[in-house]
């Protein structure tokens, strides 16, 4: 049932050419090489260590894995992660 409504929403957005991140609240991750990542539309920080950063999105979770990970800044809107990012996983 939920899947169906999601598909409908998706079709509607496609036909109206609206951005998915704004309307569906999808996570937006921008990666610059493997050293920097900008994340928007997250709900909160679940775990943070030098090896992994786990973020909560509206529909899913995203996990950045690597070494020497640090959060350069953290606000309600967006955050910047720097370090050596080896893996980005959606859970």
């Amino acid at each position: 049932m939920k899947n169906e409504s999601n598909q409908k929403k998706s079709k509607l957005l496609e036909s109206l050419q609206l951005p998915r991140d704004v309307c569906l609240g999808a996570l937006r991750v921008t990666l610059t090489g493997s050293a920097e990542a900008w994340v928007e539309n997250y709900r909160g920080l679940l775990e943070y260590s030098e090896q992994s950063i786990l973020l909560q999105g509206k529909n899913c979770q995203v996990c950045f894995e690597g070494t020497g990970l640090t959060i350069d800044y953290y606000t309600n809107e967006d955050m910047k992660i720097s370090g050596c990012i080896q893996n980005v996983r959606y859970l």
């Binding site: 909160g44 920080l45 679940l46 775990e47 943070y48 260590s49 030098e50 640090t70 959060i71 350069d72 800044y73 953290y74 606000t75 309600n76």
Partner: protein, 407 residues
Amino acid sequence: MLEFLKYIRGYLRIRVYGFSPERFMNLCSNKDILLWDIEQAGDGYVMCISLRSFYKLKNIARKTGTRVVIQERCGLPFFVPIMRKRWVFLAGLLMAVIFWYVSGWFVWDISVTGNYQITTDQMEAFLQEQNIREGMRKDDLNIGELEKEIRRNFAQVTWTSIRLDGTKLLISVKENDAPILQSTDGAQETEGTDLVAEFDGTIVSMVVRKGVPQVRIGDVVKEGTVLVDGKVPIYNEDATLREYILTDADADIVIEHTMSFRATLPLDYIEREYTGREKKQTFLRAGDGFEGKLPKERPYLMYDRVMKQSRPRFFEKLNIPVYWGSYTYREYQNVEHVYTSEEAESILNENLSLFLQTLEEKGVQIIEKDVKIDTSGSERILQGEFLVQEPAGKRAATDRGEETVEK
């Protein structure tokens, strides 16, 4: 820029540890509190937070069961109280800034380039007249008007450029190389001048171009005698005097007269002999008043010194008279020597030939010469008597006497 703003408003580096530091960060972001440079440290996190936001952390820390410890205070709000204790230093710094700022309002140096016919003194006098002087306000300077005024005042100036380089006023002029033609319509007004003899002697040659000759070839004249009168009489047809016309007398007159030359040279003289020992002294000078030297004492009894002076580029740019450099003291001894007769005579002859050369340059012709060197006593005396023919005629104002008409 962002870093600068953070510094101005002040920020703290805090360590957050306890039950749920991640939730602490989430709550901070929900309350629009910016956190940056977040790093994991042991069982907690270290992060930066602005000073204003720090005061909002109490509730968040209580809710999340975390403890917040200040590790470092950064920024201006923390720097000012420290500086309050060192207010003298701060006042000095402030005064220095004010000094540099205020001194930039004035003109501290004026340099004139490109003037060959117009002397620097003339230009300085002109600038003084125009109230352009060192130490004047830059606002009072009207560069365009000053350029026009220079061209108006000095006919030979064809181009002027004035600009301010920092606190220095640079005046560049270009002069006309071609001679300036003077207007020839009508006769120039003159007060009239005579030519008078500068020395006693006999006239040997005389070519008069303007004026009335008062002497003839072969006449013996005294110093001050009028040779050519600048007052030219105009007669009526009945040979009565109608008027005088004043003119500048002009003539080539040669007077023969005697001239003497005497030079003495003591046989014993003192010469400096350097011992080869040298010592350096560094100095710092501000204006003409203050001079500090290191080391302070003079190193030798008899010495001469060579000064090397330079101006730091910083002060040069601001034209502040602060100089530094070194003195090199060279020790010497006074050693007595005696000239031999030949040496003394050759020195005296050299002096004589220099004297004769100067005479030749002046256009003096030597007719007879009688030179003797006295070799008795402890000094040599060269005595010369010359019969010379020398161009004469010194300008002097004409005695107007009766009523005259100027031409």
